[in-house]
Amino acid sequence: MIYFIKPFDGFQGVKGNEEFIYDLTYQLGEDSLTMNYTYYSPLAMVADSLVFNFSNKSHSYKTHRLFIEKDKKDWRHRYTAQVPLEVIKEFYAVENAPVILVLGGDEKMSYDISKHKWRKFSDIMRQILNMISLNE
């Protein structure tokens, strides 16, 4: 059984309008999920890690490029990372909205989410993760 969680675009760049869109794929029985994500920036940036900041902790994962291409004025980056299932469960369990960072060399892209959006989305995600646990 393979679970695919549709692309979510609730996280925004700290400057306001930069999009960060991600989807999750989980194969039943595995201990990690695949997180594929897209971000935009005016300059092409080679990322090396994806970081989740929540509950005063930082979780960093190696990330791999799927492609980088020009999209109108910006560069569209598509990357992938493997994230442990337990970390994803912790991530969606937190009440305070977390921050997602994409790091590459000296460059950093930072994305956050409004409390309202987070409460709504994390609740749905907890239900999905609970359903996955029930089917393990």
Partner: protein
Amino acid sequence: MIMKKLLFVSVIAMFLLSGCAMVQSPVFATLYQDVKAPLAVTGNSGASKVGTAQATSILGAVATGDASIDAAAKSAGITKIHHVDYESTNILGLYATFTVYVYGE
């Protein structure tokens, strides 16, 4: 004045009847549609990756997006396709989406 109103109503009716956002689906509904269906199957084995691509239509007047199998496969780094599904949604003919899901390795 009555003629002007009639003309206005006719134009609106024409727009609503002919300018609906339509989308491919095995079954159709006029009020609300959210249907998933198969598109293709290959002889390749294994599907641990999923990629998507989407196109959107608004009022049947503006349609944008790349809902190709190639775009969906590329979005997840899929090089061997196992099967392809699609999902079509339509709300009152005003807003429609067509999403392709590619499964593979």
